[in-house]
């Protein structure tokens, strides 16, 4: 086991319009179900005994947990590197001092929702969160704590992209452009159709997506040529062509093991309260990864589609959108096709699963890149 994602809570002090998981910060029902400090330490211990080197502490907002520092120091004391996902709003000078003295050994990943109060709080719906987040980010940067800024692209903050990229370029240790969440996920627990409706409305249109790609210029094209040369091929009918569960997995806030952070379909979840990480990794994950698609649309389209690397279709996305593991997600399909057409891999009106000379197209795309260097 190389890594473990640990969701410390599903609660968050922000109330982001697009979020797939958040529960209110003061939701006692969620809080009472959460793993205890002792449970979490036991999971960390077992992970370390299985060779885990890196643990990602995420949420919800992990800093909401009153025992966060205890958990963090325990993980580091086991010789684990820590990747912290946070919105930075709850960072205090004491916490920044802690990260300076006992470093995570990985960058702290901070999601930035906007570059001004209006755009930021239009996303978080939490008054004061803009000021709190930037105070937190400054606390980290002032102490030279490595930070990896990330963005979320919504119609409400798409105007901030250039400013965000300029700011991110000045963050020490940044290599290349910051990453953005672009294809917003629906609710991971399928708990609110109303929230799902909102999330669908917030997704970028094909035109807005193209605007973002165009704005990224030649650097984006170069990155994609390298990427496409490595990650494009039809996946066939096996559902898992990704690395879910191979080198590690995720434990949710309530002690359920998942092969990946988004995959919460009941057939793919293992209860650690009645088992162990070792059994989850050695027995349960191989069973999950051997699953095959049976949906006829998936077999006719996704299984034959060479846009695998550009498309985010996966069992977790099917779960969130349709409640099963293999119904194609039309939005993701459309976005992948838009991107492929922009890159010249598809002609107008072509469906990627019908393209027979896809290998030649990838070679030609990559070859041109080599000549232009």
């Amino acid at each position: 086991m190389g890594h473990l994602d640990l969701e410390l809570t599903e609660r968050c002090n922000n109330n982001c319009v697009h979020c797939y998981i958040n529960q209110p910060a003061d939701d006692l029902f969620s809080k009472e179900k959460e793993l205890s400090t002792g449970d979490i330490k036991a999971i960390l211990e077992e992970a370390a005994s299985l060779g885990c080197l890196t643990v990602r502490l995420t949420g919800g907002e992990p800093l909401l947990r009153e025992d966060f520092e205890d958990i963090y120091l325990y993980a580091r004391g086991l010789g684990l590197k820590v990747i912290l996902f946070t919105n930075a709003t709850l960072l205090t000078p004491d916490m920044a001092e802690l990260f300076a003295c006992v470093p995570c050994l990985e960058k702290i990943e901070v999601t930035v929702y906007g570059m001004n109060r209006r755009s930021y709080e239009a996303v978080t719906r939490a008054p004061g969160s803009y000021q709190a987040a930037w105070r937190g980010i400054r606390l980290l940067l002032e102490k030279n704590i490595p930070v990896l800024p990330k963005g979320v692209l919504l119609s409400s903050n798409v105007e901030d992209v250039k400013e965000f990229e300029r700011w991110a370029a000045g963050v020490p240790g940044m290599n290349g452009l910051p990453s953005f969440s672009m294809s917003l996920d629906l609710r991971g627990r399928r708990d609110s159709e109303d929230k799902n409706k909102n999330i669908r409305k917030l997704r970028l249109s094909a035109g807005e997506l193209l605007q973002v790609y165009r704005g990224r210029g030649t650097e984006y094209i170069s990155e994609m040529k390298e990427f496409c040369s490595r990650f494009m091929a039809p996946p066939g009918d096996r559902l898992f062509s990704c690395g879910a569960g191979v080198e590690g997995g995720c434990v949710d806030a309530y002690g359920n093991f998942q092969a990946c952070m988004l995959l919460r379909h009941p057939d793919t979840v293992y209860d650690l309260k009645t088992g162990s990480l070792k059994e989850a990794m050695t027995r349960f994950v191989p069973e999950v990864r051997a699953m095959k698609a049976s949906n006829s649309d998936y077999i006719k389209r996704c299984a034959l589609c060479f846009l695998k690397g550009l498309c985010e279709q996966c069992p977790a996305k099917s779960w969130m959108e349709h409640g099963n593991l293999d119904t194609p997600v039309e939005y993701l399909c459309e976005m992948a096709h838009v991107q492929a057409r922009y890159l010249g891999l598809l002609k107008q009106g072509e469906a990627a699963w019908e393209v027979e000379d896809w290998e030649e197209r990838i070679r030609s795309f990559y070859g041109y890149h080599n000549k232009s260097r």
Binding site: A48, G77, L78, G79, K81, C101, P103, P146
Partner: protein
């Protein structure tokens, strides 16, 4: 910083690092800032390092470690002494090992 390593002294692992054995490799994970020049990179020992490391128990002086290794490996005692002092010197410099105070 010059580090003087004495064969008549004992050394042990600093409390500022965690040494982990993963799939036969010994990996040293810093706990606090300022451990050597690792900057987040973990430090993995080679075979020679592992042989020396496993004998650094905080009780055995380096001279005994050199003698033990000389009886087990074909290299000359002089080469082994150089390996041991070089290894310990580097890890003391990186604050991974510390000298044990004499009682």
């Amino acid at each position: 910083m010059d580090i003087t390593i004495s064969l008549d002294k004992t050394y042990t692992v600093s409390e500022d690092v965690v040494a982990r054995e993963i799939e036969g490799e010994i990996i040293i994970v810093p706990l606090v800032a300022g451990i050597g020049d690792m900057e987040g990179e973990l430090y993995t020992l080679n075979e020679t390092g592992k042989a020396i490391w496993s004998r650094l128990d905080g009780h055995t002086v380096l001279r005994e470690i050199v003698e033990e290794l000389s009886s087990q490996f074909e290299a000359s005692a002089e080469d082994i002494k150089e390996d041991v002092t070089g290894f310990v010197s580097e890890l003391v410099k990186r604050k991974i090992l510390i000298e044990v105070s004499q009682p």
